[in-house]
């Protein structure tokens, strides 16, 4: 489990607006989270902090009791971070994976090879000679094959073609461990919509929405028709009609529309959060 308490981080210490400000968050094990938010909200920064690549300026992060910035080997061997920018190593993928995989107890060379062929990556080509998309697929394949407990992916589908994106979703869903916690930071909502089971929406003031998607579908009612509802806190036109987000006091299960939820959170956050708590209060009564 990941516990984040009063986390603050700024690129210009003491000056300007902090990227993350008094962030409190609990990330449960065994889920695939979509880490969403507009540009500059701190998604990559949060992944860096969780991977121990940055030091929190305030507050603390605990991952299964570990402080990531200590970078203890026993912690690192269960963690994988795939950044948006990857090194162009002058090695063939299998050589890279075999030499590096020895550090990860659950690494499976066979799984890596099969993922490379699924992703259509030429294993005879050096990583440095690969295109951005191919390189990304190689690193993702390696980290999936490592079977780590924590997998953090920053914009994983950037540079991938449409079929690769589908293969990525399939591979992640099929080969991630039951107890793995996967965090995917992205702007490409459509690429991950089918595989995530929870969302994290970040906000500059430290307010955050972190819930399983089915729970959101119970706390809010997502209506997919053209009838205008008085209690709707957000209405969005879709190519096929429209979606409205309303309070859900009966807690009846509805299908969450993540795109609409995202827009509502950043467009009418107060009303959205009020609707969620209203649903809770009414259902408690």
């Amino acid at each position: 489990m990941i516990d984040i308490h009063s986390l603050a981080f700024s690129y210009r210490k003491g000056k300007g607006t902090p990227v993350l400000d008094r962030l409190d968050l609990r990330i449960q094990s065994g889920h695939i989270y979509g880490l969403l938010g507009p540009n500059g909200i701190g998604k990559t920064t949060l992944l860096h902090l969780l991977s121990g690549l940055k030091k929190p300026q305030m507050g603390e992060i605990r991952i299964d009791g570990n402080n990531p910035f200590d970078r203890h080997p026993s912690f690192l061997e269960h963690l994988a971070f795939v950044p948006d920018e990857m090194p162009g190593i002058r090695e063939e993928p299998v050589d890279y994976a075999l030499s590096r995989g020895r550090f990860y107890p659950a690494f499976s060379p066979d799984l890596f090879r099969s993922l490379l062929s699924v992703f259509n990556v030429d294993s005879a080509k050096r990583i440095s000679a690969m295109s951005y998309g191919e390189r990304k697929k190689t690193y993702i394949a390696f980290h999936i094959a490592c079977q780590n407990t924590y997998l953090f992916l920053d914009e994983p589908t950037n540079g991938m073609d449409l079929s690769s994106k589908a293969l990525f979703r399939k591979a992640l869903a099929a080969h991630s461990k039951e107890d793995s916690t996967i965090l995917i930071a992205t702007h490409q909502l459509a690429d991950i919509e089918d595989i995530i089971d929870s969302v994290i929406l970040l906000d500059r003031k430290g307010e955050v929405l972190c819930l399983p998607i089915d729970e959101i579908g119970r706390r809010l009612r997502f209506e997919y028709d053209t009838v205008t509802r008085q209690d709707a806190v957000w209405t969005e036109r879709l190519p096929s009609g429209c979606v409205q987000i309303c309070p859900n006091p009966e807690r009846a299960e509805t299908r969450c529309h993540i795109g609409a939820l995202y827009n509502a959170f950043y467009g009418r956050k107060e009303q959205l959060l009020q609707a969620m708590s209203k649903s809770d209060q009414l259902s408690d009564k």
Binding site: K54, P73, E85, P87, I89
Partner: protein, 254 residues
């Protein structure tokens, strides 16, 4: 497993680190090792072209080649570890499951023992091969031994004793280490112009010191004596330089 140091983990990390460096930099390593042969060829080529005869590779020229070799070896470390300031490469290494101490030790072992040792070994082997092919040429080590023995033989009772070969060898190794560490730190701490900065530190500081002494009217023998005295303190820099390498591994952020 001990989070600070484990021998098996260190071995695994060292093999990985060395393997990756070897694959990437072996050509640079051999090119630097060729310094002596290149200088030998240049000297003889110049003689053949301008004087029409086979020249003489004197001991002083061999000494120059050896000094050049030591500086080039130090600068080679910038090529070997210069990736540290590239974000993507640095992330790749920082997240490898090994402790900061293990990563530091591996880096030090490679950069101040294996690489200089390997370069000197290849240089000496090539020097020996040249001596086999050219009967008029004797190797740098033989010349150095004869030169130092000559100085010893000329000394008379009452004069200060010349340091032993062992002490001279140790001093030379420590100076190589300091030069290597200075270069290594430039590779780790500076994002741009690493080589230029390292050259400025390695050559600039002694040059400024000599220029200042000449400006103050010190005679040449006193300048040499002062430089000799100061050089005894150079090895003292090893510990803080090593600590700076460890600090970088432990606290680097991206």
């Amino acid at each position: 497993m001990n989070p600070v140091f484990s021998l098996s983990r260190f071995k695994k990390y060292f093999q990985y680190d060395f393997g990756r460096i070897w694959r990437r930099c072996k050509m640079d390593f051999f090119l630097v090792s060729l310094t002596g042969v290149v200088l030998y060829l240049l000297v003889h080529l110049r003689h053949l072209v301008f004087e029409g005869n086979w020249g003489d590779m004197s001991y002083s020229r061999q000494g120059l080649a050896y000094s050049l070799l030591s500086y080039l070896t130090a600068l080679l470390l910038i090529r070997v570890y210069g990736w540290f300031t590239q974000k993507s490469q640095c992330v790749d290494y920082l997240l490898l499951p090994a402790s900061a101490l293990e990563k530091t030790l591996s880096m030090l072992l490679i950069s101040i023992i294996i690489i200089p040792g390997g370069v000197v070994a290849v240089y000496s082997l090539l020097d020996y091969l040249v001596a086999l092919l050219d009967p008029s040429y004797s190797t740098y080590w033989v010349n150095k031994y004869e030169y130092l023995s000559g100085i010893r033989a000329e000394r008379t009772a009452g004069e200060e004793l010349t340091p032993s070969f062992l002490a001279l060898g140790l001093k030379s190794i420590l100076n190589w280490m300091v030069a290597g560490l200075v270069s290594l730190l430039c590779a780790l701490y500076f994002k741009k112009r690493k080589t230029l900065i390292a050259v400025c530190i390695l050559f600039g500081i002694p040059l400024i010191a000599i220029a200042a002494m000449v400006q103050n009217g010190l005679p040449l023998n006193e300048i040499l004596q002062l430089l000799n005295t100061w050089s005894k303190y150079i090895p003292l820099a090893i510990l803080p330089l090593v600590a700076a390498v460890y600090y970088k591994w432990k606290y680097t952020t991206v």
